[in-house]
Amino acid sequence: MVKSESKIIVVTSGKGGVGKTTTSAAIGAELANRGHKTVVVDFDIGLRNLDLIMGCERRVIFDFVNVIQSDANLSQALIKDKRNENLFILPASQTRDKDALTAEGVERVLADLRKEFAFIICDSPAGIERGALLALRYADEAIIVTNPEVSSVRDSDRIIGVLNSRTQRAEQNLEIKKHLLLTRYAQGRVQRGEMLSVEDVQEILAIPLLGIIPESTAVLNASNSGVPVTLGPVSDAKRAYQQAVAVLLGEESQSRQKGWKSKILEGLKLFTRSPA
């Protein structure tokens, strides 16, 4: 019954607070919008937040660690989104026990999820400790969330190195596909030379670009109300995430990349009212 097309995608960054959880929720929800059965898994043990961003915090009964420790089964822990029947979340636990996640446990749960879901999005915690390493360990592809800022770019480079050496695919000599997602991008500041441009970051990190998410008030509005950006009203951020998912699904081919990039940047300009 294993879905052959089932894909595990880790959303990672190294640096904290760059937009991983926002991205996991937005991309997960957009995949579901397009009819793909999708689960978003919160790997941030002890600092659960995905449930809040996705607006299901009051429905958490069992969590990821409960499933790993066989205190609950998967179907008890999975929360089905009320807005989209294709969207599920597996919440993190609030335990302070850092060893609650085990490699065997994570591998087993992910294997079970593969039987049911087309996409498994792993929302990684910051850092390169156990939780972050396990979030990326079994991934087929990785979305590297980066802000146009020196420390974020440096940490992303570090994470790319980790992906190339510490994933199961890397150990089996298989390629792990990496996507650069530039978030909190302020086109005005880039034009004034105050912020690293998308070309700068892409050249430094040398991985293909998945998308550019603008700095946007829609993101805070979305988290305030517990609605992933892509399930909310029309906004610059929503459009940018939709575009990123189109690229993720291969609808926008590599050769057309230049075209869609300038299209996004043009879109951003339209939304830039006053210089950011």
Binding site: V150, R154, I159, G161, N164, V190, L196, I204
Partner: protein, 91 residues
């Protein structure tokens, strides 16, 4: 006044800051990559290699050099082990 200040900022320090960021990143990353900064198993690997090699040949710590270099498409693990000359071995 405000507009004027903004204008000055624009042509002064700020205009260059993205460029400065780019240059600093290029330098720091070239170090980070050649350090194999992401590979925290390197010291352990080095130690274990040493143990295995020592079963057969007598060498010391400094004679095992393990380095990892990352290029755009792949990583290269470089092992450099200096074996003692035959004379030293039998001595």
């Amino acid at each position: 006044m405000n507009i004027f200040k903004k204008f000055l900022d624009g042509i002064g320090t700020n205009r260059k800051s993205a460029k400065v960021a780019r240059e600093r990143l290029q330098i720091v990353l070239s170090h980070q990559r050649s350090d194999g900064g992401d590979i925290d198993f390197l010291p352990k690997l080095r130690h274990e290699l040493l143990t295995v090699i020592c079963k057969y040949v007598k060498i010391d710590q400094e004679q095992v050099n393990v380095q990892l270099q990352r290029t755009e498409n792949c990583s290269i693990l470089e092992l450099n082990i200096t074996l003692p000359s035959a004379k030293e071995q039998t001595a």
